[in-house]
Symmetry: C2
Subunit: 417 residues, 2 copies
């Protein structure tokens, strides 16, 4: 039985592990409209200011603000309307003093105008039948220069950095890029993640079970977590539980993929073989051999020439929790996401005592309920082999390293799935 000669606290383990992972130097150009969730490979600057012209924020009249100074309900300013700015067209209307132009929300201000009076603050006296005819308006409120106008460059200035390198593209980023006419963007490649399982008791999910056998599920829960984190997972399958087969499969996978995950079955012999093989795939080999967490202590973390290697415990709950803790940040780092996002979590009031051990970080599947405006959480206890403890859970209560336990009524952090 191999010793856990290098058991580290989780934060230390993660820091050491990430230090050896090189962001991929592959990138590709993709249409902005298809870039949701991808990661920018370079900073993007605004090629021009936005908006490109002075726009009205109101329906009303474009005016020279000076003509409205002093106007009030009892002493309105009288202006002559001499035209209408059509939507999508240049505001090519000359305004002499005491003249105004009809303008719509989003319309372009005529050169001579510097403000917009909203229609509700006016009264018109039409001289003809159509709005195109000239007519007089009374203006009841003075407007200041620039009022109800978006200035050129008010949204973004030419040359301003709009997206930084290593940023996950969100819906509003897509909008901002397209607003500037940027329809293609360089994003980092999606890391290819090879996932294999080993263990004589493991069979593919489609196969009928014989007594003593269980189905491979870790490959698929890990693949789903990879997918969520922006990676491109490939389930390699089940590799026979012997040194030569596993070594051959791992060597080929580490060439083909950007990251290798082995779900190592639960017997000690398989774990030992996994350790040996992960240490032989490249530099520096194994970095962490055991993490001070429950569940998931027998996790193996390493790197082979910049590529992350992860040996997961066979228990499905351990495997998922450990992959969330180490695999997901590794995928982000390969993608070049900066800064690395932290897991989403909330704080909730604990409904039941939880015991723990100081010097170990515990993660307990938990339900979350909201009652009378407060958030409560209750642990779902169960052995780490029981996938249904996670199916019934909304998140994972985290008991910090230095705590011997938490009492009902205390606030705890709950990582959300």
């Amino acid at each position: 039985m191999s010793e856990f000669f290098n058991v580290l606290p989780p934060d230390e383990a993660r820091e050491l592990f990430l230090k050896y992972i090189e962001p991929l130097d592959k990138s590709e150009v993709t249409p902005v409209s298809e870039s949701l969730g991808r990661v920018t490979a370079e900073e993007v600057k605004a090629p021009n200011a936005l908006p490109t012209f002075r726009r009205s924020t109101m329906d009303g009249y474009a005016v020279r603000s000076v003509d409205t100074f002093g106007a009030s309900a009892s002493l309105p300013a009288f202006l002559r309307v001499v035209g209408e700015v059509m939507m999508g067209e240049e505001g090519a209307i000359n305004l002499l003093p005491d003249q105004a132009s009809i303008i719509h929300t989003g319309g372009m201000l005529p050169d001579d105008a510097d403000a917009v009076v909203q229609i509700e603050h006016t009264q018109s006296f039409s001289e003809g039948d159509t709005i195109k005819d000239r007519f007089e308006i009374e203006v009841f409120n003075a407007v200041a220069p620039g009022q109800n106008v978006i200035q050129v460059g008010e949204d973004v200035k030419e040359g301003e950095a709009i997206l930084s390198e290593g940023q996950k593209v969100r819906p509003q980023d897509i909008g901002a890029l397209l607003a500037l006419g940027i329809t293609d963007i360089r994003v980092t490649a999606q890391p290819l993640i090879g996932i294999m399982a080993t263990g004589d008791e493991i069979i593919p999910p489609k196969h009928p079970l014989r007594p003593g056998q269980i189905r491979d599920i870790n490959s698929y829960t890990v693949a789903s977590l990879c997918q969520r984190a922006g990676g491109a997972p490939k389930v390699i399958g089940i590799v026979p539980d012997n040194y030569n087969s596993l070594k051959k499969a791992a060597e080929s996978a580490v060439k083909e993929y950007d990251m290798l995950v082995i779900s190592a079955g639960s017997s000690v012999s398989v774990r030992d073989i996994t350790v040996d093989i992960l240490s032989e795939l490249g530099d520096p080999g194994i970095l962490v051999h055991g993490v001070a967490t429950k569940p998931g202590k027998p996790t193996i973390l390493g790197a082979a020439n910049g590529k992350p290697l992860i040996g997961l415990p066979g228990n499905p709950v351990s495997a998922m929790i450990q992959f969330i803790m180490f695999g997901v940040p590794a995928i982000h780092q390969l993608q070049g996401v900066r800064p690395l996002p932290s897991s989403k979590s909330i704080w909730a009031r604990l409904e039941q005592n939880i015991s723990s051990e100081s010097g170990r970080e515990d993660f307990i599947p938990a339900k979350i309920v909201e009652a009378s405006g407060e958030i409560f959480t209750s642990p779902i206890f169960g052995k780490s082999n029981l996938i249904f403890t996670l199916v019934n859970a909304d998140g994972l209560i985290k008991i910090p390293l230095n705590k011997g336990g938490v009492l009902a009524g205390e606030f705890v952090e709950v990582l959300l799935f």
Copy 2:
């Protein structure tokens, strides 16, 4: 200019709107391994118990627990090891009284055994060269019946409901289904969402801008939000700003898609046409004409024979916020998600006063920063035309309906993007 004759508070507006949206009656069977994020179309029950056999949770010896009763370090129990349970094989070993079998984590308990002694609590005296040979062990700790054993059905019982109808499939759900040998699952169809824009000033993102024009971005921010919510968006494009063109396009879209979104440009005339057309597409037509929010008051919500209709304001910030408030729940309802998920939000301490008006729900783009263990938020002020207020934001501060404003230092809810 049309009156806002039916301006409703947002919660009331949403409730009324959702009442008229029928979940799609389309579903399809998909491989479980590709079902992440899809919605279950029916309840799933466990076809068999899990695990299917009694499994060891330790490396050690399968024993009859009664043989260990009273054992201690000073007075160990002596047992004779008569075999080894191989991983993935039936535990077909007969144990007579005072006999034990080697067993590995995950191994199947022999019929005669009812507990496992972990290897660390034993000492062995080998009689031969290999582990297969019979040998004696001393057991230093008594084990109770069932100790270090997972019982049949301990994870899930036969016939137990494991996923309810209308549930979004998560990684652990995929694991649980596969563990039971369920490799295909019936999920609801992805709603097809037709998105069109109108307004004479709007041009496609790829086109060069002439003065007075802006590029269509709402179609793409809305499409991204649809995609995130599990819908299948289709950007129909820009429809000329006149009754006949828009009516024809809307009628054809409402036939082809499960939901119709019109981003209505910013001028009043376009909004009026949109209102007219949305009221003519089916029953009951327009339900909400204006929502008591800022930004986004001129939102139109309706339904045509069970299909949601949304008319969004032209301003990109308003459009996004309103789509998050109404479009996303509509997509969830079409997919049959139950219960409807609420927006993710956190509570943060406000760094700057914000004024508002009672009777209106305000959403202000905001930065979130963590400092000395506390979460702070500061508003990004800017007109609702400015997409970069959202690009620079981490979320939206929500000022409730009944608040006239919030002071620095108070806690506010921030909806996360």
